[in-house]
Subunit: 367 residues, 2 copies
């Protein structure tokens, strides 16, 4: 239970305040609540992130190691990402550099089922590297892609993968494409005598991907590609567990420094169907500006061709005292989220404090 | 078929080269192949991204609008994210600022099922904003969380949500937690007469989340939270479709400027089970340095407590001419991925070019 993983961050700051800032990140990435809220000594000792070291790297940046409890991960890939950088991704002075995992987590995730050696062995590539090309551009028809695959396979490649842009578009639907390309590659293999592999690009959610794996399997395929930061890392994890005979190739789409404006995410979440979106309000624990907040709010509930509005949920260090100000700004079409500040109240007055919050919102005079 | 969405990027550059750079991004975010590869005029006109406008924003940054074909999205949320920023996320001179969607895509995704009005109506909050708090810190037992929920509900909140750090950890497993907190909130509601809602935090892949929704449903809940950038945006999309009676609250974990070193993603993908990982090799279309590449390669196949090695797949603009150099560096435990450069060959010589690539790798003298 007391195992910890080590998360390595770079944090911008100055020598006088870096210790406090590092502690702030350690708290954000573990209990996400003021330490004053935590009355259980077991949580303080076993769950709260611990700042293990701080090193001045020069230029206003500090290397900070924070040790996070393995127990908080719960053996889920998404939750691991969440613990490492979920909220810290919202801090523009924090970079996640590295992580080191204890044996328990390594065993829980388990790494590749086949890995480098397995892929080399499958390709009967003794003592050499593997070859691969991609089917593209998107927009080609199924027949055109299959013809391309056939040519590439005739050339004797080890792997021929879908371009990561090939999903389930009308111009080359997944099932038709996979059956046609697999057939083409098999046919070429009968000529070349080489075990060329066609690697379809998986897309959608886990349920859809399960069906896609079934199609691939029925064509005798044993390898597939997935972009984990698009499908979600829990999907990659589950696929590896559910299909130990399959090999999975990760595509790096969306793994770069994301640099997407937060407002656009709010907009996308609305587009995809989120009924409400939480975001950091200015003046809390995150450095979002009021201008950014204006845009988020507008993205969530501004007129948009008949789409229903999403409910803005400003959060991230809001306090009871700020309720009137928040309501002045957001009006009634909002949900106020107050976490730590409310829980800072001693247990015996929590109900009362909560009721005060409720009343402040209920009694506010909406314009 | 010819509908387009508008993607708005900021691109760093200078006036003399910005047009070319913008075209490069438009190609990367659509066909991902040199235009010389594309012989079908329909793809050139209907599929290739079009640079619609370039505006000098000063300070070395340019606002660029690129119009992308709706047909390339295929109605999948993940694929939309992919088209907007999948590979561009790997360019450090490109920021994705905004996107505007045509009616066809709006209809395909459909937005919230309940939205702001539905959430307000459910809470019977007439003419006022909603209230919400969060159950935290993680590390509390099920009983402690339920007690907390009970107190918060007694205070009369509209919504009480799990902290986004509450997943399925041993200290508060999802099912036990949700049943206990739902019961506590119901009990409090019988006292207050208010329809306080408990909102569990969904986690894992779509299959796991389906089971979680079932548990929530059996407790009479009708609202849940999800972090789409952790679960994967296709999961959010599918949940909204599969459970139109549920409301979903989006959590912003991982939506900040990601700023995660690419090498760590490679390491994580290995940890989660990817048998191979594609990444941009230096000297191609992406600005990754050799030092970064060293780290990625080491993350993928360096010794790691008995985990199998992942196969590095250097890519992103590699050419036949570079095969020896790539093999000098990667040796046999690698997969060379050559896409556009190979496909640049005219159709009649593609087989031969491909065979040349294969031979270059086969005949290379591995050390």
């Amino acid at each position: 239970m007391n195992e910890r993983l080590q998360a390595f961050y770079r944090i911008r700051g100055d020598a006088s305040s870096i210790e406090e800032r590092a502690r702030g990140v350690a708290i954000e990435q573990s209990v996400e609540a003021p330490l004053a809220v935590i009355r259980d000594p077991r949580i303080l000792s076993d769950i709260v992130g611990q700042v293990a070291s701080i090193e001045d790297q020069g230029g206003g940046w500090f290397g900070v190691r924070i040790d996070l409890a393995s127990a908080t991960v719960g053996e889920d890939a998404g939750q691991l990402l969440n613990m490492l950088f979920g909220n810290a991704s919202l801090y523009d002075d924090v970079v996640l550099d590295d992580a080191v995992f204890p044996p328990g987590l390594l065993a829980a995730f388990g790494g590749p089922r086949h890995g480098a050696a397995g892929l080399l062995a499958r390709a009967k590539a003794e003592g050499r590297a593997l070859t691969c090309s991609a089917l593209k551009p998107q927009g080609l028809t199924v027949e055109e892609l299959a013809a391309l695959a056939y040519s590439l396979a005739l050339g004797g490649l080890d792997y021929i993968k879908d371009d990561h842009g090939l999903a389930n578009q009308s111009f080359s639907p997944f099932e038709d494409r996979v059956r046609a390309c697999a057939t083409a590659v098999r046919k070429a293999g009968a000529t070349t005598g080489r075990p060329t592999r066609y690697v379809p690009n998986l897309n959608g959610h886990f349920g859809q991907i399960e069906r896609q794996i079934g199609i691939a399997r029925s064509e005798g395929l044993d390898t597939a590609m997935i972009a984990p930061m698009i499908a979600g890392v829990p999907t990659l994890q589950a696929l590896c567990r559910a299909h130990p005979d399959f090999a999975f190739i990760a595509h790096p789409a969306m793994t770069g420094a994301t640099r997407v404006s937060p407002y656009l995410f709010a907009k996308l979440f609305r587009l995809f169907g989120a009924d409400a979106s939480i975001f950091p309000n200015p003046g809390g624990r995150f450095g979002f500006t009021m201008a950014c907040c204006d845009k988020i709010t507008d993205a969530l509930r501004g007129p948009w061709d008949g789409l229903r509005a999403s409910l803005p949920v400003p959060a991230g260090g809001m306090t009871l005292q700020r309720v009137p100000e928040l309501l002045d700004y957001y009006g009634r079409d909002a949900m106020l989220l107050i976490g730590g500040a409310l829980l800072s109240a001693p247990p015996e007055t929590l109900v009362k404090e909560t009721a005060t919050f409720v009343r402040a919102v209920t009694d506010y005079r909406y314009g």
